[in-house]
Amino acid sequence: MGRRSRDLSLLLVLLSLLLGLAGCDNNPNAAPWQAKHADGSPWVVSYRAFPEDPRTLDPQVAYDELSHAIIYLVYDTFLTYNPLKTDYELQPDLASELPVMETQPDGSLDYLCKIKPGTYFIDDPCFPDGKGRELTSADFYYTWQRMADPKTECPIVSNFSDFVKGLDESMAAAAKAGHFDYSAPFGAITVVDRYTFRINLKKPYPQLKYWLAFPFTTPVAREAVDYYDGKEHDGVVRDRFRVHPVGTGAFKLAEFKSQHFIRLVRNDRYNSLKFPTGGWDPAQEKALRPYAGHSLPIVDEIQYNIIREIIPSWVLFKQGWLDATTLTKDTFSAAMDANHQLNPDYQKRGMKVVKNVELMTWYFMFNMRDPVLGKNAKLRQAMSTVFDTQKENEIFYNGLYVMAQQFLPPGLFGYDPNFVNPYRQTSVEKAKQLLAEAGYPNGIDPKTGRPLQITLDVQAGSGTERQAAEYEQSQFEQLGIRIKIQENLFSAMLEKQLRGNFQFVLAGWSADYPDPENYFNLLYSKSIPPDGYNESFYSNPEYDKLFEQMSTMENSPQRLAIIQQMNQIITDQCVIAPLYNQVTLGLLQPWTQRVVVNGYVSLFGGPRYSVLNDELRNQERAKLNAKNYWPLIIGGILLAIVVGVGIRIGRKRDA
């Protein structure tokens, strides 16, 4: 009897231990920074996910989307995009007005830039007394010097040096001396007064305004750069500047745990931007009107959980622990039904689908130096004509992507929604005819009497990528030619493209800034590697002339006409075969609103405008996370039975 009760009590302990663990909360989010505001009003937290760590929070260095997402919030840029406009309209941020290009009496060009007085850096130990000081034009002067300092490793400074004065000289002097002399004369920036400065230009560069909306040119405080050197001072190791931002932004970085978690908390002194006072979608009037003209940010805190895998982030989103998620190929089928509509379950919950056409074009890039493809426009046209993009879109991309007819993606100045590319209207017959005209009737190379063989270089990847390559192969082989798929490692692929050691590849270009120049530069002969990224090795004096003209123009009907001419050249010669513009889908919880109307623009500090209904969120979360204990009890009983049977078997044999 005694032994039996001991067994029983052991089981009970085990069961209660399990129950105790199961009784715990399944909320994966960290507790808010503050429970309530000082006046008792709720402290509202926005919960988001990041797929990996931002690489650096140093604005002059960072170039990846994740790093930028944080930098926009903790620093501030000189200009920013209007959150409610889809045509990439720039508006002042740190600036008091948009910069204007001036011609000085001596004929030199510059941009006159004015900043708002009364913008302060956040409080930080790097400042005397720990109090953040006012931002002045001297900070811009220092920032541009810092960009030119080779130690900073600003990746785009050499792109500027063609247009902005003084950078080349300073960089050369620094390379010679082994260090950058911050006291030496610096020609790029002229400080006019405390709130005014000039950016001195070598030649007109209208794209500079887009760079002024990027973090590279965002002002940093010299005190902070010098203070956060990553070295030991008085027994304390200081952070490196790249993980310790000191900015003027809407938020402050409160915590950054690598691989795990980032916490941003509101900067109460922020006053550069306000919530728009109108211009939103009329359907959102009720939700957004209360915030009109409100100071930013609206939410008090943003938590980013680093979630590297798709399944857990989908689970957390479904449980209401994340406010938004991006749909991937894997979660698409879970969220959407066969007609590509949101699942009724999620519709009932009030979730919203957000669709973004990205500033990105996928295309087949032909190597214009290739002896077969480069010299034969008809052959390229035939290959472009035979390829069925719509079918590939349905098979591999859930039919989501936008079919492209031209190099420029929708939304860019110069994009023509009515443009019809004659070689992108899928027709096997027409393609065969073009191929015959190209000198390869039925795909047979007359020189060898055998099918023409062409190599498609692809990056070795997942099963899906391989399947896509096989689909592409089968499409081209309808012409009677043979396509050899060559898989390459990332580095080998890069190498091949830079050396022109390929026939054709699938390429994608995502705009750095919303100007057509960014795309057309890829076919400019002076951008042939190693000087640039014209990896088609296309060289056409007529095109070059047009490019040089349009690249220094402001948007105008004349510029549009030139762009149309360039588009026609690319299309006629079939230098590239445009395939799609990438589309991403996001899902929003019922308690959030989409404020920023454009996916690209929302990368530029979109979360500053985030609004959410905390009360609704709490109710929904409680509903979504109710627990069920019977499986645990049944499991425990089953375990007890097995152990009991075992003990009986053993005893019987021993007896």
Binding site: L21, N26, S258, Q259, I311, P312, A626, K627, G646, I649
Partner: protein, 330 residues
Amino acid sequence: MLNYVIRRLFYMVPIIFCVMVITFFLFFGLVNVETMARTQLPPRASQAAIENWLHQRHYDKPLYLNMPGVQRYQAGQPFYDSLFFANIYDLATFNFGDSLATNRHIVTMFKEGAIPSLLVTAPAFFLSLVLAVSFSLFLVYVRASKLDAVGTIFCVMLMSIPVIVYVIICQWVLGNLLRYFPAYGFSLHGFDAARFLALPIAVLILNELGSDTRLYRAIFLEEVRADYVRTASAKGLSPQVALFKHVLKNGMINIITLTVAALPTLILGTLVLEDFFGIPGLGSLSLTSIRTTDYTVVRAVTYAGSLLYLLGLLLTDICYALVDPRIKLK
């Protein structure tokens, strides 16, 4: 004994040197440093930016020897001023440098990642040892019965399922359907940590349990059939006492010797598991660095992994020597 250990350590020197050379070939021999720069810099980085990147990291050196005629020859520098010698020196002095992707100090990253990794692997290791030993003893206790057969089948089943399936099932059932635990996340604050660690630890145990139980069961069965157990039974010792006092003790010697090799590598964490549960440990660090082609971190992980593996082998040998007097420490 001390002699033996010292001798074993000396044997390790050439192996470690080979590891260094192989690591160098894997990370510099096969990948051009310029390509390395391009994978880290923006897609349109200029040649000047690439050169500066290499210069800042002292990668603008010849690959093997600094001799006239080789690429990036630096006149006036000694012949050993090359990537190869710099690499060997760095690895020998555990100077892993900075991550290419995040520019953080790799040793700091290792220190930060070791604790979360150990918080998962160490409890899982000991719990699965205890559970597998208990389970296998139970099976030995009911040996040759139908329950034993069922147990064995169950173990084979557990063994056959890949870890990723456990991860997905546990996350789905316990995290998503029953919501007993957070499906993802991590915390270092006391009991809060237990909430997050329960699921990954459970998965690791499930993953180990089948094969360990089968192995330990075999070990215990051999012991049960040994002469000393029959003698003990003949002298009137109850089967339970014989099992728990004698068989367990003698079986454990074998088991500990087998498992001790895994001890040092616990610190490296688990690759997929940490990624799926959001444990910011060395496993997920390794996986992330592979994804972001962060060569310096992958190199450091590879090297540290090899060293820890060697350490595990050393521990096994010492254990053998300690517990089994038949092994002479010559």
